[in-house]
Symmetry: C2
């Protein structure tokens, strides 16, 4: 198993990438390829005093930035760290790609350089998110701002397979994100998608309200990329709100500081549960090879977990399963 | 000042309505009219041993339910507790209405029975929500699932006036809810609304991401009703998530239970801050008279605060101000 990681994507590249890659090689026994300025990557290894065993470095020139035209990843920016990483996957020299670089460029690169699974209309970003009991996934997290009902149907199928094969949920509960649970709720997109979803053999539980999702109402949440992105970021923002509130609670008085000492195992549990670094990143579902979008602010731990996630994505046989499901 | 309250709207009517009305009369010196089955209302007063001074009871027959066609509020259901309350406002016999009944029916009733302010395309539900430092409002919270850019412009104008006149924010910061802060982000709705918003004299801070809203990035968040409703309920769901997490933290061990005792003033502060009952309800902005939608699960405290909010809405002169702004 060989995972290529965009060596210069993300706020903390290349140091966090190098550290995460070294940890992943050690812990998961995978091989890793890092793309980018080889001298700088080597310096990062030396600085961190890390072995580069089972880590291959491949030269790439510069980085595609968030403000660049994402379409350039196919042409003018194909020689960047992300572009070269995509090309290695396309040529079969790596099994999957991880990047913390420009989301839009990675979506374009995944869809058009690596290419889509036959029959997939549009790949979907699939953040993995904590709920009160475990985790759930959301598609689309922002790759396709406007969607047709058939796209939502495909998102549901792909998400169900991922949740089953990678997360081990035997019969994933699929919900359509909506403003109410009644059948006729929502815009035309939702009412039409509802009709398509209820005709499938999936365990479609119907419309779900955003307030019930963090409480664990379903395993796969389906929506368009605009709504999904707003939902996802609202949840992120409230996660920060929660952390700041906890801080306020415990820093309030001398007594509350003692209160923290007595309660800290639980506080740490909650912090761990809502820590995106534990998850790794968001798979892009629908591409012909596994693509993992790591958070832009990923640290070494987040990169390590994103590489683990890429390996699980490969091992789960998700792509063959999606292909089979869509050809039915 | 006379506020009419739908006596039978909401999960805890009429008891919670009666108790909230009695408290509002006592604390704020307003007069209240309650609509519905007068016998049952009188029984509720007796049961709670509350005086009905300055509270008038007006007979109405039955309730419009969430599952009823909201359009019926104008016709077949005009004699219900909500229908009669709307009519009293329309006829000028009350200055404002509060209802915890069907949101859709109240939106129809506000827009079509009471009527819109001249020039308003569509009234918007305006939930008032806590952020880390205070509060902000969101329009539209769900009255108009699909919107045109001009509607978003009006929402911004109306919201800014409410925030200024009722909440005392001298120069409300208005943000357009979007998937990124860059100018060109979003769907056509956002890019077109952006152009309109930046031409106004408002303090338009540009696009805002959902993750920054709970952290206080702006005072007025503008979006379409579908997106707004999803955002709002995601925040509500995360509020419940947060409460359950706090419970888990403190119920974990004997030590953490002591930790709670030492930290409880802060915990209570956070709970109070995120308690919708403190706010009251969501104004419907754009109607010719003040309409307040109270939460369906409102208790006596929530009704009391919703009545206070209705009184502040009247006193703030919001409607005259909106009328003046739109005629410009």
């Amino acid at each position: 198993m060989k995972i290529v990681v965009d060596g210069f994507g993300g706020d903390h590249a290349p140091d966090a990438v190098v550290q995460g890659a070294a940890a992943a090689v050690r812990e998961y026994g995978v091989k890793v390829v890092l793309t980018g300025d080889v001298d700088k990557l080597q310096t990062a290894f030396q600085k961190a005093q890390l072995p580069s065993k089972n880590i291959e470095l491949v030269y790439a020139n510069g980085v595609i930035k968030v403000e660049d035209n994402p379409m350039d990843i196919r042409t003018a920016k194909s020689g960047t760290s992300m572009g070269v990483a995509l090309d290695l996957v396309k040529k079969g020299e790596a099994d999957a790609i991880v990047s913390a670089g420009s989301t839009a460029a990675l979506v374009v690169g995944g869809s058009m350089v690596i290419g889509r699974i036959k029959g997939v209309k549009r790949p979907a970003l699939t953040p993995i998110m904590p709920n009160i009991d475990g985790k759930y996934i959301l598609l689309d997290g922002g790759a396709n701002l406007e969607c047709r009902p058939e796209m939502l149907l495909q998102f549901a199928i792909m998400g169900g397979i991922y949740m089953n094969k990678v997360c081990g949920v035997s019969k994933p509960r699929v919900g359509l994100l909506n403003i109410g649970t009644e059948v006729q709720k929502g815009r035309e997109l939702e009412t039409e998608a509802y009709k398509l979803l209820k005709e499938t053999p999936m365990y479609f539980i119907g419309n779900v309200e955003a307030r019930d999702v963090p409480l664990g109402v379903c395993d796969v949440v389906v929506t368009d990329g605009f709504t999904g992105n707003i939902y996802l970021k609202a949840v992120e923002g409230m996660g920060v709100f929660m952390k700041r509130s906890l801080k306020r609670i415990f820093e309030r008085t001398p007594a509350s500081k003692v209160g923290y000492l007595l309660s800290q195992s639980g506080v740490k549990d909650v912090r761990r549960q809502t820590d995106y670094r534990e998850v790794g990143g968001s798979p892009l579902l629908g591409t012909a090879k596994p693509v993992i979008k790591a958070h832009g602010s990923s640290d070494a731990k987040a990169f390590k977990n994103a590489i683990r996630q890429a390996a699980e994505f490969v091992e789960g046989g998700v792509i063959a399963e999606i292909q089979a499901a869509l050809s039915e």
